[in-house]
Every structure is written in C-alpha cells, then in structure tokens.
Amino acid sequence: MMAHPPELAENLVGWFLPPACREEVLGDLCESYENVLQYALGAATVVPRVVFSQIRRNTGLWSFLLTTCGVSYGVAAGVFHLSLEGHPGALLRVAIPVIPAVLILLIRNGYAALEDRRRRAITLDVTVAMGAAALTQLILFAAARSDLMLLRWWPSGDTALAWLFIIVLRAIFPPEAKLPPARGSVS
C-alpha cells in the first residue's frame, strides 16, 4: 500500500493553496510523498510559487493600477487638511500603508474563485485591505508620533469614497479565476 501524507498536513497545505490549482497540486504532492519532512519542504516551495502564479494570472494591469490609485487616494486623503511644509518625505511616509493594503488585495486575487464575485466577499476583501492600511498607520504613529501619521484618517469622507470606489471596481472587474474544467473531460 502506498504511503499517504497525514490528513492534517494535507488539510493545512490545501488551506494555503489557491482553489484553482488545489486539486492537482495536492494530488502531485501526495503521489511524491516519502515522509512528512519531504512533504513539508515540497509544500513550502510549491505554495508560494503557485500563489504568485495565480496572482499574476488573475490580476489585470488596469484593475491593479486603478486599485492602487484608489487605495493611495484613500490613505492620502487624511493629509489633505495638513500642511506638509517642513515635513520632508511626508508623502513617501504616507505611501507606506498603501503597500500592505495593495498586497492583501493582490493575494486575494490569487485565491479568486467564482464565489469571490459575491458582493460580501468583495466588500470583506476591501475592508480588510483598508483595515491593514489603518493598522499600519497606527503602528507608524506609535513608533514615531507625528501629525503625518494621520490620526484623523478614519473619519475622512474621501477615504470612504476611495473604499467604495475599490469595491465597485472589483465588482465590475473581478479577479478572473481560471477554474479547472469539469471532471471527466479527458479527451
């Protein structure tokens, strides 16, 4: 009888794999199984690559650029009422929270599936991304107190506008998941 990986290990790896390639990758890892360590090392090298590949495949250039602009506007809206004079590098500092927010949205693109088209999933993705931006702001503020750390970022109307813009954008141009064809379509 062939050795199979522990169910727990398979479930864990399956949780990290994008749905579009979960089936075949888990099958290939199972077929190549020798021991738990080899399985873990194999999975550790495969998962980041397939996630990156799915992100690249599911993310449209224009959608990505518009999303980045939307997130940047949402974050930068918090400093529109502040004078940036005497704060060299202020805009660069403001750009920092944009990075985790955009990264979260990109990673969600990698895990896109048909159900991601649901309004609730889109809203959740964008809310988590904007939340990550806000959290980064708070960490930066705690690390180095400054007006530019945007404590008044939360109630900004422009931020809410940017949040809505990204939701609408992702609803109109959802990440295009390349789901596997139906089983049994062997030719």
């Binding site: 990986p5 390639c21 075949e24 290939d28 077929e31 690559r49 596997p180 139906a182 049994g184 062997v186």
Partner: protein, 119 residues
C-alpha cells in the same frame, strides 16, 4: 514565416517534456522528465507549475483534469497537451539550438558535444 512565441530555456525544456510524455504529461511526470533533460540542474515542481501556467496562458499548451485516483489520495491529475502554436515554437527553438550547436562545434569540435560538453 509565421510569428511564433519566443521561449525561455526552461519553457523549452518543459515543452520538450510534454512532447516526450504525450498522453501521460502531468505535474509529477513532467518534473521527472524536465529534471532528466536539465541534468545536472535540479528542477522543482513549483517551477514546473509556474511555467506550465505561463505556457497555458500563452496558448502553447492546454490542460484538463482527469478522474481522481486512489494513489493520489483521491485527487485528480491535471494533464497537459502541446498545442499547435507550442509545437511551432518548440520547432523554432530546436532549429535555433541546432544552429548554435553546429556553430560551436566548428570552434570546439564535434566530439565536444558527444563527450558531454561542459561538465
């Protein structure tokens, strides 16, 4: 001459593996064949997935899922097939490789390649 895709060296290896495996080309077998072709370089299955994904996006290969099998823990295989544009791109790459081999052989001697080339 029809415009064909320019292939990277690992893409050429993966397409050659698909050509050799014909109906039995899926992740594990493609990696094994690609590793044999790339010897002594090591080939990770992750690199194979990424390359296959890119080749499929370019329309050079196509894929489909088979029925699940017990030896794979009840999981399906994703099988791959070389499509006509992929075959053309591979032919072009092979012609270029042959030209390179012939050119280098005039300088280094034909026995160089037969003896295994640079080790």
């Amino acid at each position: 001459m029809a415009n064909t895709e320019t292939l990277g060296s690992f893409e050429q290896i993966v397409l050659t593996a698909l050509l050799l495996l014909s109906d039995n080309a899926y992740g594990v077998t493609i990696r094994e064949k690609a590793a044999a072709l790339s010897h002594p370089k090591k080939v990770s299955i992750g690199a194979v997935y990424v390359t296959l994904d890119r080749l499929e996006e370019k329309g050079l290969v196509s894929s489909w899922l088979t029925e699940p099998t017990p030896e794979r823990g009840g999981r399906a295989k994703r099988c791959y097939r070389l499509e006509p544009p992929g075959r053309r791109a591979l032919e072009e790459a092979a012609v270029t490789a042959r030209r390179i081999w012939e050119s280098t052989a005039t300088v280094w001697g034909r026995n160089w390649a037969k003896e295994g080339g640079a080790k």
